[in-house]
Amino acid sequence: MEHELGFALRNAWLILAIPFFSFLVVGLFIRPRAPKLAGIVATLAVFASAGFAYALAVEYLSLGGHDGWKTIVPWSFEWLRFQEHLAVHIGVIVDPISVLLMVVVTTVSSLVHLYSLGYMHGEAGFGRYFTWLNLFTFSMLALVTAPNILQMYVAWELVGASSFCLIGYYFEKPSAVEASKKAFIVTRFADLGFLLGVLILGYFGYQIASEAGGSAQAFDFLFLTNPEVMGKFSALGAGLFGIPLLTLALLLVYMGGAGKSAMFPLHIWLPDAMEGPTPVSALIHAATMVVAGVYLVARLFPLFATSGDALLVVAYIGAFTSVFAAVIACTQDDIKRVLAYSTLSQLGYMMFALGVASFEHPLGYTASMFHLFTHAFFKALLFLGAGSVIHAVHSNEIWKMGGLKAKMPVTHATFAIATLAIAGIWPFAGFFSKDEILAAALGSGHTGIFTLGLMVAGLTAFYMSRIYFVTFWGKAKTEHASHAHESPWIMLIPLVILAVLSIGAGFVPFGEFVRFGAAHGEAHGINPMIAAAGTLAGVLGIGFAWLLYRDGLAERSGVIARALGGGYRLIRNKFYFDELYLFVTHKIIFRLVAAPIAWFDRHVVDGGVNLSGWSARVFGSAVSYLQTGQVQTYGSWFVGGAVLLLFSLWMLRA
């Protein structure tokens, strides 16, 4: 085992240290003085961490993986020890999926930083923006490299906090403030489940670890996913309501993941989060943070697979979310919202891919990570492209664009590539990962989910082509759109790089790298039937969109919308989910639960708090009245104290 580790692996802590120190330096010292410089330094730092992540990936790959990839923790230190087997560790875990995520996060983050230098040019909070962006990058890296669930939880909250700050970046805009609050509250609510799950796992993990002895740590992923430990977990038996304890704990953990990855019914925050600056949407709300939930399930996959039932829940919620969001995406007019619903739908895809995987059919695990990988590039590209368009047209509304094909050639070309990639057309990246997910669903016998997946593939192709045609084809529909100019080169470079990745990422021999268990028997390659079905769905979707929207006008689609009547309105209003939440929270929870609690809080709890504050002050004043300033008094207290001490020693002697 004792390989000589390379420089990057030996110094794995740098992956966290670089963005963290750059966050500190930029935020504390550079931002107040030179915002411009803050942006440049922040960008350079993230590029440096990207370089470091690549070096680390290369070194890890060179360790070889013929008999499965090893999981190593090259750097870890104990911060606080509660007791044996229960300590807080901070470290870096290196295994295929963490390396994958490190590469994805640093790549997309550095491109988004670069893009933002152009996009945010001249904004008032330029320095503040880059400070948060750096904090986010650090937190996200701490999340993906967490070797134990406690560090992951801390980083999880940190990404939530930086996402909150960035959604509310335009804090003078009420809608942005609302959206940031909504995102924070919904995900925080979900994190409550995560925390409970962590506590359950930690509690029983501690018992198992202390039985086992040795140096086992209750929170370590390596410990939790150890086959023996998992066996003991599943032998724990029923917890609440007859649900086995392990399943219960995992469902609670999954609740946190579902919140972050915006799974139905916790999806409501993500579309609103588009109030943040567009590059933020690309980085946080498309490529990285929202896949944290998928990553969490993948990280704990052996446990989920042991439980079985928990994985089934993941599969069905994922599949439902992917259809549900895809249907809504077909009717939205705000380009970023369409992309947001598309993200929801694709996250559902990744989730159900994990859900259909099992110890016998682990292909879904590979497929899910593969899709995470390709999706990060083409979805970031779509968002950055949309940002470029918005930058030029000064509107998010697709019906105010049109005819941008000639005016913004680079943006147009890259957006088209991304659209084809997400639609799953060969040879673009989405084709390969989507194909693998469908194959995994069919191969593990989930025919229903396979059918849904195929449907979603068609819908995805349709709504993406819809915004593509309406935005870029036809005639300019507004004054701004007709005077649109191509964005500056600093924004175009990231677009081109991401476009290249969106084409090339599919050809990575991914199954060799990320797989579950030893070299698996399931053939990795293209199943012609599934590939044909998927491509057919994509082509149908694009063709249908071409029929309706090729001139960039709403006439033909309006006919269909009117024919659908109430159904269309239902979808267009997102199935009235926001209204449902508002009704439940305002009319039921606020009135029947919160109001009495508020009364109790105001009169009883606050009273108690005020009483304790008041008594503390009175006690404090009383104590300081003893402080008369007279040295005689002090002397008497001193001697009296000595006598008191004598008596207490005498009376209390053991």
């Binding site: 503390a616 002050r617 404090g620 002397g635 207290w637 001193f638 000595a642």
Partner: protein, 478 residues
């Protein structure tokens, strides 16, 4: 060789006396640098000698791991205090009247005091203990009265009177215990005694003397006025170094003199610890003057420190030493800001700090980090230090005490936040502009704040203390 750090400190003090005589007024600001280099050399000597142990003078002076650590801590506190005093003694800064003259003597007196503390950490019999204790106390009376205005003089006088009282009691207690045991050597005393009424009387008197140095309730009364009246750097020094000396004294009394009989103390200790932290905390709530406020804060911190005596020495000793280190750097960071602010404005009320985050954001940030450290917010070192102390009390079965200590930490957060509120939420007064920060002050603040963060984040320091002191006293007493 083993006495080298002490000899360096004393040598530096005499060198300063001489230089002060021959240097002109223009050259005298460099005296501080000479003093600092002396302390630096003593720190270097301590670090090189550190793992060794041995005795001199027939066992009257001995060094072991714990004594080295105490010396190191005193030297750190002394060095930082010299750095923090430079501005005030320089005379070129400040809103008139705050700067002091006679800088040469100031450093000399401080260095003698420092040497006294270091000797005390190594004292092993009654005579050397008492002599070094006096050397570690009497110069402080002088320093407290250094400003020579009404308040400072009052502080010095009160300190002298109560200090004499404490010293008398301590000496009396020593006499009684000597009479009972017939031993001068600290370690032999406990073994030669039975627990009887006279024994308890002697111990109570010793403890009163220790309580004076450590500011334990009800022996804390002097602290409020002395801290408020003394010049700010002296207050800073009193709050960290003198308290450290109190802890060293307590180590002698508790682990050596009482030795095998120390177990009888647990409940009484717990009660005095809870009294100290509670009274200190609640009195701090209503204070208006920031130095007086820090006096009560320091009293409550001494209460937390006492928790370490409840467990086995193997756990308690490193936890207390570590907390003392954390407390020294964190408290000096707070005092650094206080000294800086009163040098420039001459103001010392808590409200005077309003709007500091607008005018001097980095100084305000340093102050906030340090205050949060004192309150024990993770991941700052104050949290980690308290965590170890509390867990010792919990392991010893004093759960009520841990609960009380946790409540006290919460209360303390309230009053530390009062200062933060003034700095960050209250607007600056019109016309307030950024105040200059001298290089010496910048350096001292940066070192203390960074240390108070790093000590919490990186466990290396605690592990070193723990590893070096783990075998302490083993085989001799316990």
């Amino acid at each position: 060789m083993l006495m080298l750090p002490e000899l360096i400190v004393i040598g530096t003090a005499f060198l300063l006396l001489t230089l002060d005589l021959i240097w002109s007024d223009r050259q005298r600001p460099a005296l501080a640098l000479v003093g600092l280099s002396g302390v630096g050399a003593a720190i270097a000597a301590t670090l090189t000698l550190m793992p060794q142990s041995g005795e001199l003078f027939g066992g009257r002076f001995a060094v072991d791991a714990v004594a080295w650590w105490f010396k190191l801590l005193f030297l750190i506190a002394g060095g930082l205090t010299i750095a923090l005093s430079m501005d005030m003694l320089d005379g070129r800064i400040g809103a008139g009247g705050t700067q002091l003259g006679s800088r040469g003597e100031y450093y000399v007196v401080m260095l003698f005091n420092l040497a006294g503390m270091m000797y005390m950490a190594s004292a092993r019999d009654l005579v050397s203990l008492y002599v070094s204790l006096e050397l570690a106390t009497i110069p402080l009376f002088v320093l407290a009265a250094w400003k020579r205005d009404a308040q400072s003089t009052e502080a010095g006088l009160k300190y002298v009177i109560l200090g004499a009282l404490a010293s008398a009691l301590f000496l009396y207690g020593m006499g009684i215990l000597y009479g009972l045991s017939g031993e001068m050597r600290l370690e032999a005393m406990g073994k030669a005694m039975q627990a009887g009424p006279a024994f308890w009387l002697g111990v109570a008197m010793l403890a009163a003397g220790v309580g004076f140095k450590l500011t334990l309730v009800p022996f804390h009364m002097w602290a409020a006025e002395v801290y408020q009246g003394a010049p700010a750097p002296v207050t800073a020094y009193l709050s960290v170094a003198s308290k450290g000396a109190g802890l060293a004294l307590m180590f002698h009394v508790f682990y050596r003199v009482l030795g095998p009989l120390a177990g009888h103390w647990d409940l009484a200790l717990a009660i005095f610890a809870s009294l100290t932290m509670t009274v200190g905390n609640f009195a701090a709530i209503v204070q208006k003057n920031i130095k007086r406020f820090m006096a009560f804060s320091a009293i409550s911190q001494a209460g937390y420190l006492l928790l370490g005596f409840l467990g086995k020495p193997g756990d308690g000793v490193p936890a207390m030493l570590f907390y003392l280190l954390v407390y020294i750097v964190t408290n000096l960071a707070v005092f650094g800001v206080i000294i800086w602010y009163s040098n420039h404005t001459g103001r010392e009320r808590i409200e005077d700090y309003r709007g500091l985050s607008r005018t001097n954001p980095l100084v305000a940030l340093a102050m906030m980090i340090a205050l949060f450290g004192l309150a024990g917010i993770p991941p700052l070192s104050g949290f980690v230090g308290k965590f170890f102390l509390f867990s010792i009390a919990a392991k010893a079965g004093f759960h009520w005490l841990v609960a009380l200590a946790a409540v006290n930490s919460t209360v303390s957060l309230y009053y530390y936040l009062r200062v933060v509120r003034q700095m960050y939420i209250e607007p600056a007064e019109a016309g307030d502009s950024a105040l200059r920060v001298t290089p010496a002050m910048t350096g001292a603040l940066a070192v203390t704040v960074l240390a108070s963060v790093i000590l919490g984040v990186i466990p290396y320091f605690y592990e070193t203390v723990s590893a070096q002191t783990a075998g302490w006293l083993q085989g001799t007493l316990w």
